[in-house]
Amino acid sequence: MVLIFLLSQHTPFSVLRADSASEFDYTGPRCDSLVFPLITTKSAQLIALKTGEVAGMAASLWADLPLTQIPEIEKDPELSVVSTVSTTYFTMPMNCRKRPLNILEFRRALAHCIDKDYLSKTIFYGYYPSVQSCIPPAYGGDWSNPKVKDPYGFDLKRAAQLLDSIRFVDTDGNGVRNDPTTGKDLSPLRFLIPSYSPERVRMAQIISAQAKEVGIPIEVVPSELGTMIDEIQSKRTFDLCCWSYGWFPAWDNIQRVYHSAQAVPGGGNDAGYYNATWDQLIDRMMTTSNREELRDLIWKFQEWHMQYIPDYPLVLRVYLDIGSKKVDGWLTQSGVGIFNPWTYMNIRPKGVAQGGVVKIPIIFDPKHVNPTRDTTGMDNTIIQRIYDSLLTLDLERSIAPNLAKEYSIKTLDNGTMVIRFQLNTNVKWHDGQPFTSEDVKYSLESYRDKKVVVYLPYLKGMYRVEAPDKYTVDVYISSSSYTAVYNIGVLCSIVPKHIWKDIKEDWSNYDVQNPIGTGPFKFVKWAKGEYLQLDRNPDYFRSYKPKPLTFKLSLSSNIAVTFTVDGKEQKDPVSLDLPKGTHKISVPEYVTIGGERYKFVRWEDQSANPQRTIDLTGDLKVAATYEKEATGPPWGYIIAALVVVAVVSLIAVRYTRKRKQ
């Protein structure tokens, strides 16, 4: 009996936003240095984050921070938790090379023993929802088939019926079903689980308990990761395991995991499911140039996958990232979270436009900084800051320009596809050498000719690369393929010809000491076991240009006048954003309105000159005062004079009369 604690649903996450994504213009970097200190436990990383020693942490990558800590972290006013639904999901591959898992009804019966919603609520506290398809919606676009839903669902009765139908019956009444071919009890199925993930161990225990109720014995075997990899991908002796799939893009996930060519040592087809029809579909997927057809094939595959379930998708992973509010520039990339290439470009200390040092912890040392070797996520965190590819993925994970400012596709009469990449002309390597089409040609041809393991699958069909001029590259592929643009453009890093041509060793094993790339950051230092430092590349082709500081200048007057600001006329009232510094303002000395003439009298600072120069160092309000000027006969004075004359005359007359009397 497994004791389960049912917890309440998590509350929505706060969104960490110092910049809105719409203000990000894909330029950078905004910090002077990125430092990656090695902090080997998530608990210590969290403490370092709380003390301000580091800027953020990926809570759910490599080793999970217990999910129960997340609500507590959310209460910290200095931190924000950002959740991003990823493309990766936990799934249960079933070794179809072995009996009874090679029997479809047996696999379906096992699927009926799993209550995914229950697992999501109790093990993952609702953070990881159940997943319906091997291509979940987080892939973006329209790659996920909306019609595919998990047809199984938790139904022990149905599971029992399926097992009965294939004659796996408990003949001796000991609670364990018997194999009809041998008559013996089913041997316990070994369920391998990575021991560093207690949640997955518990999940396996629940599945085991539920399968036991229908007579399927399962032995949960928490294993060290290396041992697991060996048993699953080399020896293939496992029965069940809990793995994480979800390679991006969608066709890469399907091709890597389900093609029979991958059912070799080191390949990704863990379940060992051989299906010639699937292979044909996948081959067609990788060679079609029609996007709609590609989508239809991917949709079809999802339907088939749910019918034949060589692996049973369980729950979707959600990336939980924690960022400090003392840092500006966090950006969320669809399916990836806040630790994406654009955040590294945009991140800087709070209130700083450009500058400062940002520290992001890593949990183990990268193995290498060689883009031609296979990489873990940790290696990529560093390598992708240093090296660029021809194209990239924007925040929505759509293909965007990078080293190539544009690309075009042409299909020749013989079916050959030619991808033309037009390169940016202002790109330099970190050692100051210019980046040209020769570097691209050399890189791609070398990956093919030297059989660089990590790139070979992406260069399938590529038979020629030409550099007609310094900034144009033509890649010839023997058959049209929509996926080729992504595979070649996004997935292949470009290396400098002037350095790599002198490397005699096998590139896949070569230990790069001082990586030179075109990326936003330059390699500075790697103190293994301590930290790794990258500095901003000041010559980066997407350099950030700080916007000048501006202030608001408000101009007004008691009458409607036209102001002149730095030679440009502005009608009252005026509100302008002007850069910091001196500006000339002037108003006319006289203004006539409706026949009345007005004269400029003074500014708000009492100065009387209608022309003035201001030093703008903050928001400023300026006001001009006018007074009406008298223009016709001075009736006032005339009347006053007449009154005076009249009064004087009256006095004179009275005086004269008195004298006469």
């Binding site: 430092v35 200190p37 080997t40 210590a44 003390t51 041992t227 060996d230 048993e231 094993n509």
Partner: protein, 329 residues
């Protein structure tokens, strides 16, 4: 004549101990070789699975690391290299094994050495006070404290110390051997290093001191019941004179053995503590090497640790004979 006989006896004892020690070293070397051959997981297949090498290069890699030879030939090659201190090339660090170990050893010795010495001093003091105040409140408090820290999981204690001193009080840094990036000048560099050393050292000291405290206390209690102590009391000697001039000296004997063996374990580091505090030492290197199936590194590390423990035992044996005049050869 008696002295000559004693000297000859000691020489024979020394020779015997030396032979036993060498035999132990040889046995350890052999077990060290075999143990990694029976571990589950083939390092070359892991390299293939991680796409580091092409499947057709498996043979080449096996040849490079001597894994294609018969087991006895691998053993002879290993023996020859072990004697010359060469344990090959590390799979994960891509440098000679000894180079990596020697790079990390100073950090481990600094941490474990300082923590062990501190634990010994504190342990002895606590043990003396505890024995002195036997049965009283002080004794019970110190005893409970010693047992508590001796039993508490070091990982948990490390995190607690981190939370208190690094987070709540902000007195010390959270991780690493030095600041990232470290100071460039000498004095600030040393200060920075010591600053980072405090918390892991505190953790290990707390975990270790209990052993010495309990041994000291129990030995002293036993000694205090001896006849010569009763006579010393009858002679009118003060409590402190009895304790420090008679009792503690005799209590040191079993402690010396424990201390000598502890010092042997210093080079092995403390895996849990080094992991919690991200201290770049041999302990964490061993942990990383286990997960990476870095056989050459593991063999090198285990040999160093075994050798230092054997050596420490040898020194303890010899020292015991010198210190304790009752020991006859």
């Amino acid at each position: 004549m008696c002295e000559v006989a004693l000297a000859m006896g000691f020489r024979e004892y020394l020779a015997r101990r030396t032979v036993y020690t060498l035999a132990t070293v040889f046995a350890v070397i052999t077990i060290n070789f075999l143990i990694f051959r029976v571990m589950p997981g083939d390092p070359v297949s892991i390299l293939v699975a991680e796409n580091v090498i092409r499947p057709e290069m498996i043979q080449e890699v096996r040849r490079l690391y001597g894994l294609d030879l018969p087991l006895w030939e691998q053993y002879l090659l290993y023996l020859r290299n072990a004697v010359s201190g060469s344990f090959g090339f590390s799979f994960q660090y891509r440098r000679p094994v000894m180079e990596e170990i020697l790079d990390r050893l100073p950090n481990t010795i600094a941490l474990m050495g300082s923590a062990t010495v501190l634990a010994i001093v504190i342990g002895i003091l606590v043990g003396v006070v505890s024995a002195w105040k036997r049965g009283k409140r002080a004794d019970i408090t110190l005893l409970v404290g010693s047992l508590f820290f001796h039993s508490v999981p070091v990982y948990w204690l490390g995190i607690l110390i981190l939370m208190l001193f690094a987070y709540q009080l902000r007195l010390f840094p959270t991780a690493g051997t030095l600041s990232r990036p470290p100071p460039t000048e000498f004095i600030p560099l040393i200060t920075d290093y010591l600053n980072h050393l405090v918390l892991p050292m505190l953790t290990i000291t707390l975990v270790l001191y209990g052993t010495y405290a309990l041994i000291t206390r129990n030995t002293l209690i036993d000694i205090l019941t001896q006849e010569y102590v009763t006579i010393a009391r009858a002679k009118g000697l003060s409590k402190s004179e009895i304790m420090f001039r008679h009792a503690i000296r005799n209590a040191m004997l079993p402690l010396i053995t424990t201390i000598a063996v502890s010092l042997g374990y210093i080079v092995g580091g403390a895996v849990m503590t080094e992991t919690v505090f991200s201290w770049r030492g041999v302990g964490r290197m061993i942990f990383d090497s286990v997960t990476s199936r870095d056989y050459p590194m593991l063999q090198g590390a285990f040999f160093i640790i075994s050798f230092s423990v054997i050596l420490a035992n040898y020194v303890a044996d010899v020292l015991y004979g010198v210190i304790d005049p009752r020991v006859k050869y």
